[in-house]
């Protein structure tokens, strides 16, 4: 009836979407480009797209002890916390999902409510506690603190994953004489594996990106990569932009590796809802 304005509307809508897609990634791409530039090519009033690339920033970053220590600390702290989260969170989630009792709702709310706690409110007392125990600025202190995050997040996300496993398979295994534990190990875990992987990846990204707690619980030895990166910016007036950009890229790479897993996780969550 009125094809013209509608077609124009669709065109505008598509343009807005394309613009949003561009804005989603361009700032990051630009940062990656800046990481390959000499300072002269960054400090220009007109942004430069054409430049002679250099690997100096990246090799500088990878050659610094503070960055390597930060990387090591991040990997160890986040890796251990995620392992603890998996070991304690998955079984608990399975119990809530499959053996409902009258506390199930309260347990779920308790686990979620841990997310309401302001990080400062947790970090200040923990700092005092770790100082008193003599574990301040050590990786074990950070790992224990992060475990609170990973256990609760993994548990929260794994409950629906386990609920998504068809009951019939588990019932059949019971009939075949499997015990409750072997049903968990041999049936529920493998069947739910893909969406559990998403939950675990999510918890890793969450602690990898964590900043405030790490900032308050470390002073020199246990600094994680985000803290080291944020400190690079405070090197006097002459800001080494290229180096800073390179450190941002290094910090951002690990979470982006999980992009595929996490978007698959999102899809599986919503496919479940549909059926």
């Amino acid at each position: 009836m009125r094809p013209y304005p509608i077609r124009l509307g669709r065109l505008i809508a598509k343009a807005i979407l394309a613009l949003a897609g561009f804005l989603a990634v361009f700032p990051l791409v630009w940062t990656a480009l800046n990481a390959l530039k000499n300072n002269v090519d960054i400090i220009t009033r007109v942004p430069r797209l054409v430049f002679t690339p250099t690997l100096a920033n990246i090799s500088y970053i990878l050659g610094r002890d503070s960055v390597l220590t930060g990387l090591y600390n991040s990997v160890v702290a986040c890796g251990s916390a995620v392992l603890i989260g998996v070991a304690l969170g998955l079984p608990a989630a399975y119990a809530v999902a499959r053996y409902p009792n009258r506390f199930a709702g309260d347990i779920q709310f308790f686990v979620l409510s841990l997310r309401f706690l302001p990080p400062v409110a947790v970090a200040i007392p923990l700092m005092v506690i770790w100082l008193q125990v003599g574990l301040y600025d050590t990786l074990p202190a950070l790992i224990v603190t992060y475990s609170l995050l990973t256990i609760s997040v993994i548990m929260w996300l794994a409950i629906p994953s386990f609920q998504g496993v068809p009951r019939e398979i588990e019932e059949a295994a019971f009939v075949d004489g499997y015990g409750a534990y072997s049903v968990f190990w041999r049936i529920a875990l493998p069947v739910a594996a893909r969406s559990l992987a998403g939950a675990i990846a999510f918890s890793f990204v969450l602690v990898w990106n964590e900043f405030l707690i790490a900032l308050m619980l470390s002073s020199s030895n246990a600094k994680t990569l985000p803290i080291v990166a944020s400190e690079l910016s405070q090197q006097g007036m002459n800001v080494p932009w290229g180096i800073l950009n390179a450190s941002v890229v290094l910090l951002s790479l690990p979470p982006l590796l999980f992009l595929g897993v996490l978007s698959g996780f999102l899809n599986s969550v919503f496919r479940q809802k549909k059926s």
């Binding site: 509307g9 669709r10 598509k14 979407l17 949003a20 897609g21 989603a24 700032p27 990051l28 630009w30 940062t31 400090i43 009033r45 007109v46 942004p47 304690l88 079984p91 608990a92 119990a95 809530v96 053996y99 308790f110 409510s113 841990l114 997310r115 309401f116 706690l117 400062v120 409110a121 947790v122 200040i124 923990l126 005092v128 609170l148 256990i151 609760s152 019971f174 009939v175 409750a180 968990f184 990204v205 990106n209 900043f211 405030l212 308050m216 985000p226 944020s230 932009w241 800073l244 950009n245 941002v248 910090l251 951002s252 979470p255 992009l259 996490l262 978007s263 999102l266 919503f270 809802k273």
Partner: protein, 288 residues
């Protein structure tokens, strides 16, 4: 047919015990510290009971921080939801399935970034002389300078834009997935009644998604409480106290300026009480 088994107890008890210890010890200890007068510089302390709390209500910087936090919460939650619903509906209307997948992947990227990274990326972009985001302004005005992060009137919005960049785009993906789960019949029916596209969404699809959208908003309200990383990297609460939220102020009282750990903890306790009460109340309403 499940036999009685020890599994729920062996699987749940240790985890819940550990979670309880890990969460209650710091929480209770935060309250204990708030009732004392600990400072970082000396190990000595005494009990001062509620005087930290009394001081807080006379502290104008604290009241400013409360106001900034409320503004931050409202601005980021509203902007995120508006952007998410807008882009989600647009993708649903005009993007082909293949294009939708591409957009979904692109829109998830910002939220995966560490907030420190996101803050740096945009701090460069907003640089008045060399920033890519301020370049169009320099180009149009012939080299005039616009520094969003150091003007009191724009700083909060500039930082909030990064938060919305991360969460609004991500939530757009979720809104799209929610729209895709809807049954097509009501939409068809509305179309047969000659409803316009925007009317279909305003009166049919979005009301059908009311419950999940409210849950989504709830999640964003919780996540918006974590503004510290962005503000710490981008403005440190400045210019002046224009972007000083509660956690930023608590941090600077406790660690940067004076080392008044107890005073900072009193602030954190008030935040904790406010958020726990608010969110418990909201959660019960969302569930009901």
């Amino acid at each position: 047919m499940r036999r009685r088994s020890s599994l729920p107890v062996t699987f749940l008890a240790p985890t819940l015990a550990i979670l309880l210890v890990l969460s209650m010890v710091p929480t209770l200890y935060a309250i204990v510290i708030a009732l004392q007068n600990r400072e970082l510089s000396t190990p000595a302390y005494s009990w001062v009971w509620f005087s930290n709390f009394a001081d807080l209500f006379l502290d104008r910087r604290f009241l400013n921080a409360v106001w900034v936090s409320v503004k931050w919460e409202v601005v980021t939650v509203v902007a995120t939801m508006v952007l998410a619903i807008g882009l989600g509906v647009l993708m649903f209307e005009v993007a082909s399935p293949r294009l939708r997948n591409v957009y979904c992947l692109l829109f998830i990227i910002p939220v995966l970034l560490p907030r420190v990274s996101a803050a740096f990326v945009w701090k460069f972009a907003y640089h008045p002389l060399y920033g890519i985001a301020t370049y169009p302004y320099r180009l149009i005005t012939g080299g005039m300078i616009f520094d969003p992060l150091s003007k009191a009137s724009t700083a909060l919005f500039a930082v909030a834009s990064v938060d919305v960049w991360q969460w609004g785009l991500f939530f757009a993906v979720i809104v799209l997935k929610l729209l895709e789960t809807l049954p097509p019949q009501p939409i068809e029916a509305a179309r047969l009644d000659h409803a316009k596209r925007w009317q279909i969404h305003a009166y049919v699809t979005l009301p059908m998604l009311k419950a999940p959208l409210i849950s989504l908003m709830f999640v964003k309200m919780i996540e918006s409480l974590r503004s510290f990383d962005l503000i710490y990297v981008m403005t440190r609460g400045g210019p002046g106290v224009a972007t000083e939220t509660l956690d930023m102020y608590a941090f600077s009282q406790g660690f940067i300026e004076s080392g008044k750990v107890s005073y900072a903890s009193a602030m954190a306790v008030l935040m904790m009480i406010a958020t726990v009460i608010t969110f418990t109340f909201l959660w019960k309403r969302v569930q009901a």
